[in-house]
Amino acid sequence: MAETMQSTTNSKTSAATGQADGNFVARFFRATEIDTRMLGMIGALLIIWVGFHILTGGLFLTPRNLWNLSVQTASVAVMATGMVLVIVTRNIDLSVGSILGFTGMIMGVLQSRLLPELLGFDHPAIWIIALAGGLIVGALIGTLHGVIIAFLGVPSFIVTLGGLLIWRGATWFVTSGQTVAPMDVNFRLMGGGTEGSIGATWSWIVGGIACLAIIAAIINARRQRKRFSFPRRPVWAEYVLVALGCIIVLGAVSIANDYYWPINIARRYAEANNIAWPEGGLLISQGIAIPVLMAIAVGIVMTFIATRLRFGRYVFAIGGNPEAAELAGIKTRWVTVKIFALMGMLCAIAAAISTARLNAATNAQGELDELYTIAAAVIGGTSLAGGMGSIAGAMLGALVMQSLQSGMVLLGIDSPFQRIVVGMVLVTAVWLDTVYRSRAK
């Protein structure tokens, strides 16, 4: 026994050193511990971007388009973070688009019909009350779904399929089908646009904080490993990671800052503030859009929940082996309820972003979003068999989906054909992922 063990470890170490000696690329990935799968997705994204850039004759990789892309991705990206947890536990949520519609309508009615009567038009508290109302309604709907799934034993597919119909119908009933508009002035900031962006200075500040956070996280991780004398990355690898992270963050900030206010808005702003109109036009940076910041914040919080808290650990354990999780004393049913409640709240956040962006709450808001959300999570590496998935991957998946759509719009492709392409890409992506996984074993 000991001998065979010894020989396997020997062969393994020799194999490892062989690889390490081999080529530089393999050594680089080993040392930096960068996930090659995630890297593959980033590669695919870059191919899509460059491809569209060439096909559209240089329209795609412009600050303006990338900025719009980031704003358009925000809503689905927010929901995709929750969908990861749902799918990881071998469930599905088909109702997210309808919950988005319903909570959006609730928030719309709150801020443009009910609250102005009580507080007066454009009262500063309206947006937060409306948002809180939406979050509560979303959480309640999610809790209801979760309870039916976990305690009554109805499969999530059926419960949320029912939810898809029910909440879409309920959306109609709130206003008998009328569109609610306009939204509250402050609430609208969550939709992005010229006012819903934080400008150049604040964008750089946010970027700087993000860089500091990256450095702090890497130093902290290294210190922790040292404390228990675990193997550590080589120091150069840590520097490479810090540099990569900071370049990506600051690059994104500079792109957002390279997109300036449209001329008409800038001119109006100049007139309002008595600024002389300069020769080459007034260049005011948009900076990072608020919905994008919201999506990033949601992504960070959800990653924290999924990887640093017991709840997240339980979610993955249940996905890996539900019976083992139950026998380990995990209250699996409550975990399921919490996941769906969380999903409902994320739908409400996504609803806030999309109603604010549209400046209206409509009946059809969020239609088909459930499919885009599921597709984003699955393209992002969430396994439908359960137990596998990452929040960052799902958000990247959302970006891939949105990039495809935006690119096709820029190319002037008809919308029915866009759907055909998106559908084919989804199937192909999952097939590639299956191939990758079977190889990885």
């Binding site: 026994m1 000991a2 065979t4 063990m5 010894q6 470890t9 922790q224 490993r225 404390r227 228990f228 675990f230 924290f304 990887t307 640093r308 808290l309 017991r310 650990r313 993955f316 354990a317 249940i318 996905g319 890996g320 082996n321 019976e323 083992a324 999780a325 139950e326 026998l327 380990a328 004393g329 995990i330 137990g387 596998m388």
Partner: protein
């Protein structure tokens, strides 16, 4: 050891039925500290069902469970753990997709003062326990599914040890293992026994457990045929109990014993 008066576990007159079928009927077993008791019987004899009542996976219809002479109220796996009962299942009940440390602490994770998972501390103690149990175990960062059957079983056993189990239930612990790994688990059982842990071994294969067990309980059709100290009976006699329900002179007959006409 069996002379001690209070058994560690005493299950008295346990019955459970599923849809009118008596899976376990009026079964009584006991276990003393530092003792290995084998529960034998064919597939479907009710041994796994009986023991799942002790581990909290099933709720009994009738009967009492006494732990250290006191009535224990076991309704779910969490209750069982409170009494120091840990179970290692034949299906290798580990969460495949997370690493060894996460499995060791599943359901009882260590947390930092901010309420976040203390992965580093968990990995440190996982390394310590696994080092004691299986010094060759090195793959702490990989999901458990990448491990061999024996390594996974040692993760499951380490999990029980880590939480100071006093009563260990092993349901076909070696069913999924090769001969060398089986021997390793055997050594492990002897070591746990020396530490005063009471162990229930469940198996349908007498050869797996006869040499490890101090006593055997044989079940047939949901009833206890009888029990005996392994030194008082031969393997063939125990086989007779399993197959025919025939109780040899060295054994104590139970409610399921074959009626001698």
């Amino acid at each position: 050891m069996t002379e001690q008066t209070t058994p560690l576990v005493e299950m008295k007159n346990i019955s459970i039925s599923f849809g009118g079928i008596h899976a376990v009927e009026n079964a009584s077993v006991d276990l003393f500290p530092g003792e290995v008791v084998a529960l034998l019987g064919h597939n479907g004899a009710g041994k796994s069902t009986l023991i799942k009542i002790l581990s909290g996976a099933y709720k009994r219809d009738n009967g009492d469970i006494m732990i250290n002479g006191e009535t224990a109220d076991i309704r779910n796996p969490r209750d069982a753990k409170k009494y120091g009962i840990e179970t290692i299942y034949q299906t290798l009940a580990v969460a495949d997709n997370v690493d060894a440390a996460a499995n060791l602490y599943l359901g009882r994770e260590l947390q930092t003062k901010w309420g976040t998972l203390d992965d580093v501390a968990m990995e440190a103690s996982a390394r310590e326990v696994m080092g004691r149990l299986n010094p060759n175990f090195k793959r702490f960062k990989e999901p458990v599914k990448a491990l061999s059957g024996g390594q996974r079983q040692s993760v499951a056993i380490a999990r029980a040890i880590l939480f100071d189990a006093r009563i260990l239930i092993m349901d076909e612990p070696t069913a999924a293992l090769g001969p060398q790994e089986t021997a390793q688990v055997g050594d492990l059982i002897k070591q746990l026994k020396r530490e005063g842990i009471g162990i229930f071994l469940i198996s349908h294969d007498i050869h797996d457990v006869f040499d490890l067990a101090d006593r055997v309980f044989v079940m047939k059709n949901g009833k206890v045929v009888g029990h005996a100290r392994t030194e008082d009976v031969t393997k063939d006699e125990v086989l007779g109990m399993i197959i025919l329900g025939k109780v040899p002179p060295g054994a104590t007959p139970g409610p399921g014993a074959m009626k001698v006409v």
